[in-house]
């Protein structure tokens, strides 16, 4: 099996995604709370994986290589995060964009979780939805870059993919939350 896929850090991230996904889809009598925790959990996995890609980026730039991720095979980071032409947007590494973006999502989800009945809660739910949706075209762009543009393409960067899946999962959680809100099931005991 590809070394990159057996990386213990990657397995922890996958576990984080699995738990977040379970919280999103599992039936529960506190579904609204579970969805809020799920969105928070996705965003936390996203911010940590983004930071991890930023660490790999810094290692690649300063040392030319890193022990944090494989540089061989199709599933690897070296040719993706190490590609000077595509590993940044206007000179800012993608990892930094991820950290900033998931920070905004964490803030919105945390506010909702702490007080879902606040007068701003509906607005914040909409902000979370639109902020998450705004990130999806960037995910699509980055996947296209991985598959077609980087040196030796196609490649898949596993830690970048974790961040992408975190965003997709986040949007899913917020989507279900919006449905519950629109259906008047905002309280946990309203089924």
């Amino acid at each position: 099996m590809n070394d990159a896929l057996t990386d213990p850090v990657l397995i922890i991230f996958i576990l984080g995604l699995a738990i977040s996904s379970y919280l999103m889809i599992a039936k529960n009598d506190k579904k609204t709370s579970m969805l809020m925790i799920s969105s928070l959990s996705f965003a936390v996995v996203g911010i940590i994986s983004s930071a991890y890609t930023y660490i790999i980026h810094n290692k690649m730039v300063v040392q030319g290589t890193t022990s944090f991720c494989s540089s061989e095979g199709i599933v690897q980071c070296g040719s993706v995060i190490g590609d000077p032409q595509w590993n940044n947007l206007f000179g800012v590494p993608w990892g930094i964009f991820g950290i900033i973006s998931f920070s905004i999502l964490i803030f919105l989800s945390l506010c909702l979780y702490l007080d879902r009945y606040a007068k701003w809660s509906e607005d914040y739910l909409n902000y979370a939805w639109w902020a998450g949706m705004a990130g999806l075209p960037f995910v699509a762009l980055l996947v296209i870059i991985e598959l077609t543009q980087v040196e030796g393409a196609p490649h898949i960067c596993p830690f970048c993919t974790i961040a992408h899946l975190s965003l997709i999962g986040y949007v899913g959680s917020i989507y279900f939350l919006r449905i519950r809100r629109n259906m008047g099931k905002w309280s946990d005991n309203e089924e």
Binding site: V61, P84, I106, L110, A118
Partner: protein, 229 residues
């Protein structure tokens, strides 16, 4: 007396939880950024002396064909100050720039003296000036000193179309000519050509022409690399 309207909607908490959320997020970000700085501090990247040279990946002409070239592949990350190693000279030119035309000879001389200790790299860019059209055929002819254009000032050939590339001063340049781009120029803060930077073997900028207008390139090479043949 009007009766107070009874509402089923639940009321939010009186305290503004957004401040708490802000503090929690601030704490998470602080921990994350501290870990990043401890595990892999970001390098200062730029063309100034002491900075790590901006990396680029582009097609390069080596005298035979065009192949992908990545600047950082020439870096020796294990190199330490005082050790022997292969330094890197990065030159930016426009094949139609008159100063680059005359610098062709200087580069040939530098190469004959330091080719054993220094990797030479020329990045070709196109300045936004009339008659500055550096297509691949012109770049190849400029490097190889082959016939391209005429010696008439008709816009055809090198040196703003004044000369046939065959007559470029100096000898054939036996090193990689990179197909530059506006983004590489921007990263390297190149505002005009020619421009030269000397990199240490580990890729850090040791000499930037813009910062050393009083020192010519030969003196800089002698001072930094020493040991010319």
């Amino acid at each position: 007396m009007a009766r107070r309207r009874k509402t089923s909607a639940k009321k939010g908490r009186d305290d503004d939880v957004r401040i708490i959320a802000g503090f929690v997020l601030g704490s998470i970000l602080t921990v994350i950024m501290l870990l990043v700085v401890i595990i892999a501090p970001p390098a200062t990247i730029g063309p100034s002396e002491g900075e790590l040279a901006p990396d680029f990946s582009a097609d390069a002409y080596n005298g035979v064909n065009w192949q992908n070239f990545k600047l950082s592949d020439t870096f020796d990350y294990e190199w330490e100050e005082g050790e022997e190693g292969e330094w890197i000279l990065v030159q930016f030119i426009d094949t139609d720039c008159p100063y680059c035309w005359t610098e062709g000879e200087t580069m040939s001389e530098l190469y004959s003296q330091w080719s054993d200790n220094v990797e030479f790299i020329t990045v070709t860019v196109e300045l936004s000036i009339n008659n500055h059209n550096s297509d691949r055929a012109e770049v190849e002819a400029f490097r190889d000193k082959t016939s391209y254009g005429t010696d008439e000032n008709d816009g055809d050939g090198c040196n703003s179309g004044r000369d046939n590339c065959l007559n470029r001063p100096g000898t054939i340049h036996n090193w990689n000519y990179i197909e530059g781009s506006s983004s590489i120029m921007k990263d390297w803060e190149v505002t005009g050509t020619p421009f030269i930077a000397i990199l240490k073997p580990d890729g850090y900028v040791a000499w930037n022409q813009y910062e050393n207008l009083q020192e010519d390139i030969e003196s800089a090479m002698e001072r930094l690399v020493g040991g010319s043949e």
